[in-house]
Amino acid sequence: MSVRMLVVDDEEEIRSMLARHYTLKDFEVVTAENGAEALKVLENQHVDIAISDIRMPEMDGVQLLRIIREQYPMVRVIMITGYVTLSNALACMRRGADTVVFKPLLDLDEIDQSVELSLAALQRWQEKLRSLQGMKREGRTDPL
């Protein structure tokens, strides 16, 4: 089963760069131009990992992150930003982002590692979920 990734950035070139990079790594990648568009994607399809810029028109990354946390708690979020301010990064971490990676991405290894960590977290949850579902099924079949 391939992992679906949502890339949100108002800069087209960054979207396609990341899309290419992760498609090559066998992710299924969808892109969105801003927070509002990203929410539309989330409404219509399942997303495992979202990579989002912070500064965007329409709806910025911090707002998007807040909504994802409320409505799609299973989605892992990685923020990327060109603005290296500690308060910015901390705000994202407090709101439940997995990581904040600073642009320029001179070495994609950093964001790759974040993606891997998010994937590992995702897998742990999915396993837990599967075992919970198994227990439910057992519970249901037991008295019969």
């Binding site: 760069m17 290419r20 990079h21 090559l24 991405l105 001179l106």
Partner: protein
């Protein structure tokens, strides 16, 4: 007072010299107008002169006319000695520039009284000249101060504008740098696959394209490397710009600069360890200053790194770090025995983007960041070249008054 007496009459010479000497004056005697002119037009002329009207060579009136026509000379008080029959021409004498006259035969008491007037006027003129020259000094000092202040204001204004500009600029450059670098890394990661295909193609003996394919195989790593270097440099510039356009001063805490020096030296240990010998002279019981510890460390790290580069260029040398209490300021003095700064460039080193390092080696932002931080802390920084080579930076921060 030094007084010139010009008279061709030996009797008067003796008489005047006797009286004047008795009244405490220093007398210079000449017997004609030409000699009088010689004395009075010299660099340090006597400031009071008794000149006889009728003299051989050059008469008294001519001497007076010449002196009054001479520029850049201190004021000389001129008393004309006249015979009775010249009395009517005195109007002309005054219009030429005589200050006073004495009728011959000279009455000693009158001579004394008139001389005293002269002495008073000369002394007054001297005092005036002195206060004038003092005023001139003040004026030029004020002018200098005003000029400096204007320079500072222009500088500050430029800095503020640049601060706003750079924040936006850094972001604008950052995004393209991100996708260039990202795409480049993708290219780098797929290159081995392509290279294998090219190899296979060459092994199959694709004679037609062999030359081109070999060239591509050989050059591609260099192409990628070149682009990587470029992106790295761009990233260096934007990160410099971002710290240049840093946010406002964070909260200041009581800060012991000795500890900050130690911490900054620690951060620079790798850059310093091979070619730089570090000498510390840190004052005991240094008073604290109110400062942002991180920013102070950034200042010191910048200075230490510059010192390390300057010293390395010379193939090794020393770094001296001194802390001390000077008046009511805590000073940190950072000296190196490196290449120094060309004197004509000393006042430009604080300008953003000004660098003496080779292209691609420095962004030219380090010292302008340093100055910005120091000034945010109400401190000062002075750069100068050391007598025996290298550079000295003197940082002064006001001692924290109370809590």
């Amino acid at each position: 007072m030094r007084i010139l007496v010009a008279d061709d009459d030996p009797t008067y010479q003796t008489l005047l010299q006797a009286y004047l000497s008795e009244w405490g004056h220093e007398v210079t005697l000449v017997e004609d107008g030409a000699k009088a002119w010689e004395y009075l037009s010299s660099d340090y002329p006597p400031l009071l002169a008794l000149v006889d009207w009728m003299m051989p060579e050059m008469d008294g009136m001519e001497v007076v006319r010449r002196i009054r026509g001479k520029k850049d000379t201190p004021y000389i008080y001129l008393i004309l000695l006249t015979a009775k029959d010249q009395h009517e021409d005195l109007v002309e004498a005054f219009s030429v520039g005589v200050d006073d006259f004495l009728k011959k035969p000279v009455e000693p008491e009158e001579l004394r009284a008139r001389l005293n007037v002269g002495v008073r006027v000369v002394e007054y003129e001297l005092a005036l000249a002195e206060s004038n020259s003092q005023l001139e000094v003040y004026a030029s000092e004020m002018e200098k101060l005003a000029e400096e202040r204007a320079k500072q204001l222009v500088h500050a204004d430029r800095m503020a504008t640049l601060g706003l500009l750079t924040a936006g600029l850094a972001h604008e450059i950052n995004n393209p740098a991100t996708f260039i670098s990202g795409n480049l890394q993708m290219m780098k990661s797929v290159w081995p696959i392509l290279e294998n295909i090219i190899k296979g193609q060459l092994e199959q003996g694709d004679a037609e394209n062999a030359g081109k394919l070999e060239f591509i195989q050989k050059e591609m790593p260099g192409v990628i490397q070149g682009m990587e270097n470029g992106v790295r440099r761009i990233a260096g510039i934007t990160s410099g710009l971002k710290s240049y356009a840093r946010q406002k001063k964070q909260e200041a805490h009581p800060c012991n600069l000795n500890l900050r020096v130690e911490a900054a030296l620690d951060l620079c240990r790798n850059a310093l360890k091979y070619q730089v010998e570090v000498h510390k002279e840190l004052a005991d019981e240094l008073p604290v200053v109110m400062a942002d510890t991180q920013q102070i460390e950034q200042v010191l790290v910048n200075l230490f790194m510059n010192a390390a580069h300057a010293v390395e260029e010379r193939g090794g040398g020393d770094l001296f770090v001194t802390t001390r209490l000077q008046n009511s300021a805590v000073q940190v003095i950072v000296e190196d025995t490196g290449t120094g700064i060309p004197p004509e460039k000393l006042d430009r080193i604080w300008d953003p983007f000004f660098t003496t390092k080779p292209v691609g080696k420095g962004t030219g932002l380090g010292l302008s960041i340093v100055k910005g931080i120091v000034e945010d802390h109400k401190g000062t920084i002075i750069a100068e070249n050391r007598k025996d080579g290298g550079t000295r930076f003197t940082l002064s921060f006001p001692v924290s008054g109370g809590h």
